[in-house]
């Protein structure tokens, strides 16, 4: 996989390949984990990101390696595209010692600071103010890195979201608020929980630039994130990006989706960002059909190799409970 260090911006062709590679890798991982859960190979759950890969790819490709990312339980795609090693990611999902937190954190709580992933939260909205703090630290350190935070449409109804937006705006910090609007929060459609047409309009309350973009178009996301990070790096403050997308597999793996109108799901699946982008790249001559297939196979192989490595690693020993709790365990109850 190409790295996302952007000393000099790559040419359009290179970006297209990078975006497509990231998308296929994220989809391959999601697919393989769901398959393993469905056939009883893995006794875990995930919150599938299938359908939302264009956002993660655009974001991951536009950010620098040292830029920070905060994401959620539905953020495996974000983390893959930011460069979290597959072994660490899958290892944590499967609760093995190969995992990013040796099985202590789990899918909802993955951290990989080496590539800028400082926090993953299972509490909806909780990551938003934390990203503000990451950006504040960047400013205090004199760094021009930015902090991106991913969250869903539903998260924009939390107090944490509004407080974080206000603070970032007041302090003009380099935060990119990335709303992955998949039109549902668990089983509830967006229109039942907010009286606004566009999540992007929430930026108006904070005199912050806010844009609604096609979250199924990786280039649109790439472009928007690039502009937002430019603004952030040069002292222009935060940006809210509403990336409209869809989740194909429901809220959690195995969700029967009784709440989902079938025609809405099939329309969304017909606009699947992966075949759509493949088609576009092939049409533009960036990729041949054979290369596209090769990339997809390569992604699946990479995921399988990571799974093999993870399963070869031991499960966590109870002695894990005695380490990495407090730095100093003196006086701490057993």
């Amino acid at each position: 996989m190409t790295t996302s260090t952007k000393a000099a911006p790559p040419g359009a062709e290179e970006v297209g390949r990078e975006l497509y590679t990231k998308m296929t890798l994220a989809a391959a991982c999601d697919e393989r984990l769901r398959q393993g859960i469905a056939r009883g190979e893995f006794a875990v759950t995930i919150w599938p990101s299938r359908g939302q890969e264009a956002i993660a790819a655009g974001l991951g490709a536009a950010l620098r390696k040292d830029d920070r990312l905060v994401t959620t339980y539905r953020g495996l795609h974000d983390m893959i595209c930011k460069g979290v090693p597959l072994k660490e990611l899958i290892g944590e999902v499967l609760g093995r010692t190969a995992g990013a937190s040796r099985g202590k954190g789990g899918t909802m709580h993955i951290t990989c600071p080496e590539v800028g992933v400082m926090l993953t939260t299972g509490i909806v909205g909780a990551g938003v103010p934390v990203a503000v703090g990451l950006a504040l630290a960047a400013r205090q350190e004199g760094s021009d890195r930015v902090a991106a935070v991913c969250f869903g449409d539903g998260a924009t109804n939390t107090g944490s979201f509004h407080e974080g937006m206000n603070l970032a705006s007041t302090w003009q910090l380099p935060v990119i608020f990335v709303c992955q609007n998949n039109l549902f929060a668990e089983m509830t459609p967006i229109a039942e929980t907010m009286h606004i047409d566009k999540v992007a309009d929430r930026a108006l309350a904070h005199a912050m630039p806010g844009y609604r973009i096609d979250g199924n178009d990786p280039e649109a996301v790439y472009q928007a994130v690039s502009e937002a990070s430019e603004r952030g790096r040069s002292g222009g403050g935060p940006t809210l990006l509403e990336c409209v997308t869809f989740r194909f597999k429901g809220h959690y793996m195995g969700d029967p989706q009784r709440y989902m109108p079938p025609e809405q799901l099939s329309a969304a699946e017909a606009a699947d960002p992966i075949p759509r982008y493949r088609h576009r790249l092939i049409g533009a001559g960036v990729l041949t059909a054979d290369e596209a297939v090769e990339l997809e196979q390569w992604s699946s192989r990479l995921v399988q190799e990571a799974i093999d490595e993870v399963l070869a690693s031991p499960g966590p020993d109870p002695s894990e409970l005695e380490v990495d709790f407090f730095a100093d365990m003196k006086g701490i109850p057993a």
Partner: protein, 334 residues
């Protein structure tokens, strides 16, 4: 306890649903609010299934992901004499609603010198034991015991769940009703029609002469299994299900221990500074000189709850750990 002749077998989830249904039918002031409550979702665990269809969406309100507003709106309506039943989906999320519950609901009657009351019920659920990790598995009931002004209720059987929830809903003061997801599917006989279990009355779930296991919630199930095991070894354990932590049935606890002279506290919440600490302290001072063994406690270890199954199991109590503590206590000789 009002027991009518008719009973039917149902799950804990079904019994809670029935209590809510009957309360909605009995009093037009009763209403429910929370995330994903309305049909077709009917709650993330299906507990409120069918209620919005039967009673209407004006009385079964789907809310945004806004826990502070869920609690606050319930409190406001309660100050006006309505009877709200708020749901906080998973207990870990109650952290976001704490200001409202702790600083307003718990103090409303006292601070207004009785000019307003706050008859809210907050239903929430502990998701421990499902491998969901540190932010989706906690049992925080001791926090609420520590705040003067809130009743704290934890049922262990379907019948108790129905009777206690009904009592909470029509209680003039704020009640925290803690459900246990691992018990939602447990079946039992439940009285049909209005069924009220008085708050503050413990229930001896199994009589025994050798040692008293004081417990509540999920630990009751383990304690009963432990008592079965111990019976095979000639030890007769009495299982006292507290059912309500505030108000606390001190009389039943002390009466039982007066007979057995030996006591074990068991709960799934963290042992350190948990509910058992308060009760053990009361036992020690009230029964000083009449105990034949030190009071023992079994609870979760003092750790964030890890995600990997083998680590999670090492943190939570179990039938074996409760049986071991009761055995040692029963065989303790000074």
């Amino acid at each position: 306890m009002t027991v009518t002749a008719d009973t039917s077998t149902m799950t804990m989830a079904g019994a809670i649903n029935e209590a809510l249904d009957e309360a909605l039918s009995a009093d037009p002031r009763v209403f429910l609010l929370g995330e994903d409550l309305a049909d077709p979702a009917g709650g993330v665990s299906g507990v409120t299934s069918g209620l919005s269809t039967k009673h209407g969406r004006e009385r079964v309100l789907d809310t945004p992901i806004s826990e502070a507003a869920i609690a606050g709106a319930a409190i406001g309506a309660a100050l006006e004499g309505r009877i709200p039943v708020a749901e906080i989906m998973i207990m870990d999320f109650i952290t976001i609603a704490l200001d409202q519950i702790v600083n307003i609901a718990a103090k409303a009657r006292f601070m207004s010198s009785g000019r307003t009351g706050c008859p809210i019920t907050v239903r929430t659920a502990s998701f421990g034991g499902l491998g969901s990790g540190a932010t989706h598995s906690q049992s925080l009931e001791a926090w609420f015991m520590h705040v003067p002004g809130i009743k704290v209720i934890v049922p262990s059987t379907p019948a108790d769940a129905k009777g206690l929830l009904t009592a909470c809903i029509f209680d003039p003061d704020p009640c925290l009703f803690l459900e246990t997801v691992a018990l939602y599917g447990a079946r039992g006989e439940v009285p049909s029609g209005t069924h009220v279990v008085e708050l503050g009355k413990a229930d001896i779930k199994r009589p025994g002469r050798d040692v008293t296991i004081v417990c509540y919630g999920r630990a009751v199930i383990d304690a009963l299994q432990a008592a079965d095991q111990l019976a095979g070894e000639g030890i007769e354990a009495e299982v006292v299900d507290l059912r309500t932590l505030v108000p606390l049935d001190v009389e039943t606890i002390m009466e039982s221990i007066g007979r057995t002279r030996r006591a074990v506290m068991a709960h799934y919440a963290v042992e350190y500074a948990g509910a058992g600490a308060e009760i053990a302290a009361q036992i020690s001072s009230k029964m000083f000189g009449r105990l034949d063994a030190p009071v023992r406690r079994v609870g979760a270890r003092f750790r964030p709850i890890p995600s990997a199954r083998e680590l999670e199991a090492a943190v939570f109590p179990s039938t074996e750990r409760i049986a071991a503590a009761a055995r040692e206590t029963a065989r303790y000789f000074i």
